[in-house]
């Protein structure tokens, strides 16, 4: 389980996070929801140790962030993370060389699924193709948790469908997934748990199915309540 405990972050005099706390369990898809500037991306980066918190703690299966964690948690940001001069096959080779849990077979499957050409240069990829390649590098790691920042941002309809298919596949099964997205409508049926962030704090944290059954509300309905109140 990933535990975010009282996470606080300040940039100059502006508070981005003001004591956000929530958990991400294995085998569930958790969606971090918030308006622009709510601190969603900052939280993902903080979990990955890419930006320090002003205060608060983050634990992965009870342990603080450390180098070994990167074999257990993978992060798929909304932009490329390999040098633009590399070709796709070189990027895959880089991942295989540096990560013990790299699954080359899975990577080949995903490359075929997304119809990516290994000889293309990373710097020449369109936004949609770059997002797909990002998913390859993130999902071909046999990690227990996957973090995704806006996987659908600026991507065409057919590519979105392909990426959404990944969520329904065994590539995600059993893993703990934490993602941020603005396309809640499209993703709602794939989400198990929603965490609503507002002004740097978690205002609602609920199981989507339980909410539907108990109160007859969709995630969007709860969002309206939380953000329009």
């Amino acid at each position: 389980m990933i535990e975010v405990i009282e996470a606080r972050k300040r940039y100059w005099r502006r508070s981005i996070l003001q004591g956000a706390s929530f958990t991400v369990e294995k085998g569930t898809v958790t969606c971090l929801i918030g308006l622009n500037g709510a601190g969603k991306s900052t939280l993902l980066k903080a979990i990955m140790g890419l930006t320090p918190l002003t205060s608060g703690r983050i634990l992965v299966d009870g342990e603080p962030i450390g180098p070994a964690m990167y074999e257990r948690v993978s992060f798929i940001p909304d932009h490329l993370t390999l040098p633009p001069s590399m070709k796709l096959w070189e990027g895959l080779r880089f991942m295989a060389e540096f990560y013990a849990n790299w699954n080359a077979e899975k990577a080949a499957e995903l490359m075929t699924f997304f119809r990516l050409s290994a000889s293309d240069r990373i710097g020449n990829l369109s936004k949609g193709t770059a997002a797909k390649f990002n998913l390859v590098t993130g999902l071909a790691l046999d990690t227990e948790y996957v973090l995704m920042d806006e996987p659908f941002s600026g991507i065409d309809m057919f590519s979105r469908e392909m990426i959404a298919d990944v969520f329904a596949s065994d590539l995600i099964e059993g893993r703990g997934v934490l993602l941020t997205t603005h396309e809640i409508g499209e993703m709602e049926h794939l989400i198990d748990k929603a965490v609503l962030l507002s002004d740097g704090v978690v205002v609602r944290e609920f199981n989507c199915e339980a909410m539907r059954v108990a109160e007859g509300k969709s995630v969007v309905d709860v969002m309206r309540e939380a953000y329009r109140a």
Binding site: W12, K45, M48, G49, L50, T51, P52, P67, A68, M69, Y70, E71, F75, P77, H79, L80, T81, L82, P83, P84, S85, F94, E97, F98, Y99, A100, I122, G123
Partner: protein, 280 residues
């Protein structure tokens, strides 16, 4: 260790074209300058032999021979320019080697910081790559001088060739004197100081990357303090004064301790920032 070596290989691989172009430039400029200079001197000698006219290259006192060192001396501006181009590019690369991973559409720093190994290996791999580039440039300069010697022998008639020793060749230009000091102690001091300067700049960059806008002031302050810590004691203790209170060996010892301290603090701070403060 294995991942560190892979990172070093990758850093070298990323700079290979720029380094090859730079060394190619050194070869073209230095050999071109040598050919131009040697031909002019050879033509001047022709003038003396045929018409008895002396020029700035050959006067009444000269032995009517042309040496390789003299040919370099007469074209030293171009030698200096080519070496400064390499030094300038390597200095710019000190910044580029970090900032290119943060800037642009693809931010490689995300991946580097998420590697399942100690983050200090990122710092050390970039440092090692720079040291390799410096050694490669130095080795190529030595090779260029050796090949230049062959070119000189081909260009100038045997009976006109004067003797040239390595010491004369190095002393022919100021830049080569600094680049290839003939005493081992000077060599260690020049390149040791250079590497400490790289460490200080690297840590300055990491301070800026950790604290951003305020970090710029901290980074500049850090670099200035380190520079002052190394330079001021030399003047205060009077290394070049005969009336100094301390012996030269004592001043050198103190200075060496300061340099090692600055290097150790820079490495420690750089590692700590990478581990705890760095932000993408």
């Amino acid at each position: 260790m294995n991942r560190y070596l892979k990172l070093v290989h990758m850093e070298i691989h990323r700079f290979r074209y720029i380094l090859a172009a730079l060394l190619g430039l050194v070869a073209v400029v230095q050999w071109g300058a040598l050919v131009w200079s040697a031909r002019r001197m050879d033509a001047a000698l022709d003038e003396v032999e045929k018409f008895g006219r002396y020029t700035m290259y050959i006067n009444e006192l000269s032995d009517r021979k042309i040496s390789y060192a003299e040919a370099i001396y007469n074209a030293q501006q171009l030698y200096i320019l080519s070496v400064l181009a390499v030094i300038g590019t390597l200095c710019a690369y000190l910044l580029f080697v970090w900032y290119r991973d943060w800037l642009g559409r693809s931010t490689f720093i995300y991946r580097l910081l998420m590697l399942p190994s100690a983050r200090s290996s990122i710092y050390l791999s970039k440092l090692t790559a720079i040291v390799v580039f410096i050694i490669a440039s130095l080795a190529f300069q030595a090779l260029s001088l050796a090949i230049g010697g062959v070119i000189f022998e081909v260009l100038i008639r045997g009976d006109r060739q004067g003797e040239s020793y390595f010491v004369d060749i190095v002393n022919a230009t100021l830049v080569l004197q600094y680049l290839m000091p003939l005493r081992l102690g000077d060599f260690a001091l020049n390149y040791g100081l250079g590497i400490v300067a790289v460490l200080v700049v690297f840590t300055g960059i990491l301070i800026e990357r950790s604290y951003r806008w305020t970090g710029i002031a901290y980074a500049v302050g850090y670099v200035l303090i380190c520079a002052a810590a190394i330079v001021i004691p030399i003047n205060v203790m009077g290394m070049y004064r005969t009336s100094s209170y301390l012996y030269t060996a004592e001043i050198v010892g103190i200075e060496l301790a300061i340099i090692l301290f600055v290097a150790a603090v820079s490495i420690w701070l750089g590692f700590r920032l990478l581990r705890r403060k760095i932000s993408v």
